[in-house]
Every structure is written in C-alpha cells, then in structure tokens.
C-alpha cells in the first residue's frame, strides 16, 4: 500500500481527473449552447392542432415540458404540454401559446400552411386566401395564391430594399450634409458672423440639399405606389390579415419542403443572421452590426494596449532601477488585473467621457453643444477603457518574455558596438514578439468577452450607423456601437418578447465564441509563424 502511494500513481490520476473535469465542463457548455442555438433557423413543420373544445391552433412546436403537479399523489401519470409558436402577434396579441397534450383532439401538418416572415410584427402563420393586385384579386385559394405570391415576392423585395437604401443611404447622406452645414453656420454664429458671403453660400448649399431631399421623397412615394400587390391570409380563429407584399421578408411552406430544401433554407437564414441588420428590437434579422462593433472595438483596443503595455514592461524590466518602488509598481499592476471590470467602466465614464471627451467637445466642437460629440459614450472610449483593463496582461507577458531572453544575446549585440537602444530595437524586440503576441491574445480574449464596462461607455441596444462608413473621416470613433456580449444580455433579459428572443441568446453566444476563436487563432498563427521563422535546436 505504501508503495502504491509512493509510486505517485494517485497523483497522476488526480491530475488526469482534474483535466477531464475541466474538459467536461467546457464541452458541456459548448454543447448546451450549440444544442439550443443551432436549431433556431431550422424550418420545422407547421402543425395544425384541433383541440377537444373545437379550437384551432396553427404554428411551430418550440418545446415540450412536464406539467408540474404539486401535491399530486404518487403514481399519478405525468402530464405534458407543448409550446407552440403561433405568431400573428397583431391578431392574437402573443406569439406563443401552451397547449396541454391531453386536450389535443387532432394533430396534422397541413400542406397549405404558409409562414410569412414580415418586416414588422413577427411571423404570420395561416393559409393563403387570395392574392390581390391594386385591390382586385388575381389568384384565389392556397395553391394558385402560392404561385402568384412566389411570382410577385422578388419584385416586392427588390422595391422594399430600394426603399431602405434610399432611406438609409441617400437621405442619410443628405441629413449628414445638412447637419454639417448647420454646424458650420453655428460655428460662424459663435464667432458672431450672422451674415456675409460665407453665410449666404452655406444657406444656399442648404437649400440645394433641401431640394435634393424633396427629390428623394418623391422617389420614395413613387416606389411605394408602384407596389400595390398584397396577400390575404386566413388564420385559425376566423381571423384574416391583408399584408402588402413589400412587408414580406420571405414566405415559405415548410410542410412541403424536403430535407435538401430545408438545408438550403437553413444556410440562407444563417447567412442572414451574420450579414444583416437586426429587426423587431433585435429579436429577428441579423447581428452584423454587433459582430462589426465587437471586432472593431477589439482591434482598436489591441492597437492601444500593445504599445502601452510593451513600453511599460520595457521600462519596468530594462530601465527602472530595481528596488522596492519598482516591486510595488509591479504588484500594483498585477492587482489591477483583479479589479472588477465595472470599476474600469466607471473610471472610463468619469475620466474618458466626462473629462477628456468634455474637454475635446468644448475645444473642438463648441458648435454642436449642448449635444455632446466625444463627451458621451463611444467606441473609442469603450476601447480605451478595455485597453486599461487588459494592459496588466500585456505587461506581465512582456516582462516574462524579457526575462526569458538570454543575457548572451544582449552581450553579443553590445560587444559588436551596438548601443543599448540598438540592442533593444534590433535584437530584444524581435525575440520578444512571440511573448508580446501571447499577451495580446490573452488581452483580446478578455476584451472580447467583457460586457459590464461597455454598457456605460458606449454600447447600445441598436446603433443607427456603423462606426465605419463612407463619410469623411470614415472612422467615426465617437459613435456608439453594438456588441455581441451586450446583445446577448439585451435579447435575453431586456427583450419585450422573451420567448421569441431566447434562441437568439444561444445563437449569438455561439457567434461570440466564434469571433473570439477567430481573433485568437489569427494571433496564434502569426505567433507560430514568427516562432518557426527562427526555430531550430541549438545542438
């Protein structure tokens, strides 16, 4: 027995066990998220339920659970209920209903059932009654209606997209230009110039923009009038809904689709999710702005934190006289990594936004006041706050890298006549790059997952425009932005329609994991390439 203990066998089992436990926890988390998130886009069949009381329910089954029966005698049979997504929020008031399985009299999958994703009010479930063009019916019944609908939807979608394009791009550009002119006028006013050639010129410019705006408005009206087609859907409960086709995002009949068609549909939905803007207070559509915001914020943070951390580490290790003070600084830096992130957020608000941003506003943008430009949350301040949060990681990694560089390498360089700076620049820094990248990888992983400090320094539920666009100066670092981590919190816990939004929580979580993974893998690949470049055994 003693020999067994002394052999170290139990210790090996203990280490293996700890490793296995961590693996199981990580795999479990990922599996849970995937299982909940990946099925969301699958077009499951529409069921038509006839209840024992004669009521009709039509929709997609989302979950099944045991009905809790507190105080029931042991041996009582379990009862189950299913949750059905019935949509038609404008007709029924709620998207979901619970149906007790015992009360279902008949369950079928009607081939005529159609699901229409709308731009507003969520999904519409029902059966086509007729398709109309300018008020007069052109096709009657589910089958003819479906064909007529399919023929008209692409055109309507095209018009709808055109409308969005004009509203966002053309009118957006006009609004932007007008705002710039207004600010220039205000600036002149602040210098007490209220008339003169420059003011006249600006006012004239304003008038031309106004005329352009009228043109676009007219174009919008024309577009709106060009689409007169609509579809009438009859839904269970003797309800009817007439829907203009420009409101249709996509219409499909899942009960007639084969596995292949469903797979294609699934991929299209996934693509929409990663490439499109959100709809319906983030519960539908895509999360592209959130992906963009997350990646851009991590990039800006990396650009700031790397030089800052590396320089600080160089000073601490190479130039500062080692002693109690430097040790104290080092301990303080390490402790900084343990400060709750919300504290950094509060610091970001107090220092970056109110102090730095406020000063910038008063100095450079007085014409916009009292509307703040930099004196409010924005992607720059959020990135800087996260840079502060992660700088200890970079400092520690760089310092460890510096300590690991063999002294012989520096001596060799100095003995060739290089100065200390030349040695640092040409020998130490290149050899240090893998360590710096390691620090950066850890910093990025931390930053991409951080939400709390962002909520008060610039993340919003819905940002009207990306921080990068076609208007000079292209990078709008003062803009508020969307973030995947905050998006999860928002759709999961702040959404008006929690049941509809719940799957989005998991799909967004998968996406956030993927973004972190991709960012990290990129950095790891760069680091490995650098290592390989100079690798090789000494003997």
């Amino acid at each position: 027995m003693t020999r067994f203990w002394r052999s170290g066998e139990p210790f090996i089992w203990l280490t293996g066990g700890a490793q296995a436990l961590s693996l199981i926890m990580v795999a479990g988390l990922i599996l849970l998220v995937m299982a909940n998130g990946l099925g969301f886009f699958w077009p499951s069949d529409i069921v038509g339920l006839t209840l024992t009381d004669g009521k009709m329910v039509m929709g997609q089954v989302t979950q099944r659970e045991r009905i809790p029966q507190p105080g029931a005698l042991p041996g009582t049979a379990d009862r189950y209920r299913i949750q059905v997504k019935v949509g038609n929020r404008d007709l029924y008031g709620a998207d979901f209903v619970w149906v007790e399985e015992a009360k279902i009299a008949k369950r079928q999958t009607p081939r005529d059932a159609i699901l229409i994703e709308r731009r507003e009010w969520g999904n519409l479930y029902g059966v086509i009654k007729e398709v109309k063009e300018a008020g007069s019916p052109v096709a009657q019944g589910p089958q003819a209606g479906w064909l007529a609908l399919q023929a008209r939807v692409p055109d309507a979608t095209h018009v709808a997209k055109e409308i969005v394009r004009i509203e966002k791009k053309e009118i957006g550009a006009i609004n932007y230009a007008q705002e710039q002119i207004r600010l220039r006028l205000k600036k002149l006013e602040l210098r007490e110039i209220t008339s003169g050639p420059e003011v006249d010129r600006l006012k004239q410019e304003m008038a031309t923009w106004q005329a352009k705006y009228k043109d676009q408005e007219a174009a919008l009206a024309r577009l709106n009038q060009s689409q007169t087609a609509s579809v009438v859907i009859s839904a269970p409960g003797d309800k009817e809904k007439e829907l203009p086709l420009t409101q249709v995002v996509r219409a499909y009949r899942p009960n007639t689709m084969g596995v292949l068609a469903k797979t294609g549909f699934y991929l299209a939905k996934v693509w929409e999710f990663v490439s499109d803007d959100p709809r319906e207070s983030n519960t539908e559509g895509g999360v592209f702005p959130a992906i963009f915001g997350t990646v851009m914020m991590v990039m800006i943070m990396s650009l700031v934190v790397t030089p800052l951390g590396v320089l600080a580490a160089f000073y601490l290790r190479e130039y500062a006289r080692q002693g109690p003070f430097v040790s104290a600084v080092r301990i303080a830096v390490n402790n900084l990594a343990g400060v709750p992130s919300i504290v950094f957020g509060v610091f970001g608000v107090g220092f970056f936004i109110y102090f730095v941003g406020g000063t910038i506003d008063r100095t450079f943008f007085p014409e916009a006041l009292p509307t703040p430009t930099f004196g409010t949350g924005g992607i720059l301040w959020a990135s800087l706050t996260l840079a502060l949060l992660t700088v200890p990681v970079v400092i520690v990694a760089t310092e460890e890298g510096l300590a690991a560089i063999p002294g012989g390498m520096r001596e060799a360089s100095l003995a060739l006549g290089a100065t200390k700076f030349e040695t640092t620049w040409r020998v130490v820094l290149p050899a240090l790059m893998p360590s710096i990248l390691t620090g950066l990888i850890l910093a990025m992983a931390r930053a991409a997952g951080e939400v709390a400090p962002l909520m008060i320094t610039g993340v919003v539920k819905l940002a009207p425009s990306l921080p990068l666009d076609g208007f000079w100066p292209f990078f709008h670092l003062e803009r508020k932005f969307m973030h995947l981590g905050f998006h999860i919190y928002d759709v999961g816990f702040q959404s008006p329609n929690v049941d509809a939004a719940r799957p989005m929580v998991f799909t967004t979580a998968i996406l956030l994991l993927l973004v972190v993974l991709v960012l990290n893998l990129t950095a790891i690949l760069i680091r490995n390439r650098m290592r390989k470049q100079y690798a090789g055994s000494a003997f």
């Binding site: 060799a412 003995a415 060739l416 006549g417 290089a418 040409r426 100079y534 090789g536």
Partner: protein, 254 residues
C-alpha cells in the same frame, strides 16, 4: 616579463572590485600585436574579468570600481571621452556559449555592419569575406537565409567569430570559445585561430592548458586575481619561473 616591442594592449596597475570583493590586483601586462595570447588559471581567478575590461563589457554590471589604465592602440579604454560603441567595434568578442541571434545566418553576420550603416552589395561582400575568414562559408553558403539556430554547435561558434570579424576589429577577445564544443569542432576552431592571428591580435581565455599550449604565442597565468606569470608560451610550459605556475600546469591543483 618579456620585453614586447610596440604592444597592442597595455594594462597598467589594474585593480577591479565588485562592490567590496576585489577581483583583480595590480595587473600589469603588455599584449603583442598580431599574436595569440592565452590567459590560463583556475576558475574565479579573474581572467574573464580582465578580458571583459578590455571592451568595457563590465560596464553592464552595477557597482564595479576600476583603477589603473588600459590602452588599446592609441585609445585609453577607461577615458571618459571614449566612445564605447566605437571601442567595442574595434575590440571584438566571442563568448563561451555560442550566442547567435535568432535570425538568419546572413543577418547574424550583417548585424554589426548594419549598425554602422553599411547596406546592400557591400554587405554581401562583407558577409562572404567574414564567413570565409571563419572557415564557415563552404558549409553555409547555400543556406545563408535559414535560421542560424539550425547550425551545429561548432558552426554556431564559428558564426559568432564571423560576426565579430564582420566589423573589422583590431583585437579579438575569446572567452573559452571551445568549452562547449566536441574535440572535432574544437580542432577546427584552433586551426582557424592559427590563420586569424596573422591579421588580428587575439586574446583567448581557456581552461584547457593543452589548448593554450597549442594556439598561443604568449601565456599569462592568473591566480586569485593576480597575474602570477606572463611569458612566451613555450617558456611557461617548459620552464616556468614561479612555483605556483609549475604546480598548476603539472596538474598539482586546479
């Protein structure tokens, strides 16, 4: 002390202290031009310390106190006016453990010349000449741009010699250059030293008395920070004046 005409290096009454601990006591010697001079002695006797005084590499260590003078050519090494970078360019050094930079063979040799602003085609010329001088050219000419760390230990040490030669020094300091090498690699380096000493003044620290006997023209024996005896190598090994030198070279201690 042998009389040396026009010595390259002249050390006078050199004392060195690391804090309170004295490492060199009143060392005075002259090192001849274009000859190999070996420093021998047991570990901790100060021979490496003296070597590192010659190119002021001891400056890196805090709390070193030095008195006395060292002259190399026309330069007084510890003159505050001296440009240390220029001094180190003239006094090259090869270390005990080969320490190539984690760069390509070419970049290793080109490192020094680049520091002093040499570019492009002249650089190619210098790299080739230095590698030839270090008898390494034929072995690496086809893989100049591969990592220097993939060379063997002996090749790495010759690369370090080539790197030191690339800045065209007058003096070459070698701190036990063969202590980490096998006998074949050692033989190659010793052979190289024989050709190099026609052009450079070489100072070599070694633990290996046979090596000192084989490669050097003059030998200094150090003990506990003192220069016990300095003379022509054959004389040190056949007819030492000092009893301690004799005890050391005959292997009675050390």
């Amino acid at each position: 002390m042998p009389t040396i005409v026009d010595p390259m290096i002249q050390v006078k009454e050199l004392n060195l202290k690391y804090g309170e601990a004295q490492a060199l006591f009143n060392v005075t010697l002259e090192i001849p031009r274009r000859k190999a001079t070996a420093f021998i002695g047991p570990s901790g006797c100060g021979k490496t310390t003296l070597l590192r005084c010659l190119n002021r590499l001891n400056d890196l260590i805090e709390n070193v106190h030095i008195s006395g003078t060292i002259r190399i050519g026309e330069t007084y090494v510890y003159d505050p006016q001296v440009d240390v970078s220029d001094l180190r360019k003239r006094v090259g050094m090869v270390f005990q453990k080969s320490n190539p930079f984690p760069k390509s063979t070419y970049d290793n040799v080109a490192f020094g010349p680049r520091i002093f602003g040499i570019r492009n085609s002249r650089l190619d010329e210098i790299v080739e000449r230095s590698l030839r001088a270090a008898a390494l050219w034929d072995e690496v000419k086809d893989r100049l741009h591969e990592s220097a760390l993939s060379l063997s230990g002996g090749q790495q040490q010759r690369l370090c010699i080539a790197r030191a030669l690339a800045v065209e020094p007058e003096v070459l300091l070698m701190d036990e250059p063969c202590s980490a090498l096998d006998p074949i690699a050692t033989a190659k380096i010793e052979e190289l030293l024989h050709t190099l000493k026609n052009e450079y003044t070489i100072v070599i620290v070694t633990h290996n008395m046979q090596q000192a006997a084989r490669v050097s023209d003059y030998t200094g024996f150090f003990l506990l920070g003192e220069l016990v005896e300095f003379d022509e190598t054959p004389r040190i090994f056949t007819n030492p004046r000092d009893r301690r030198t004799e005890d050391y070279i005959t292997g009675r201690f050390g």
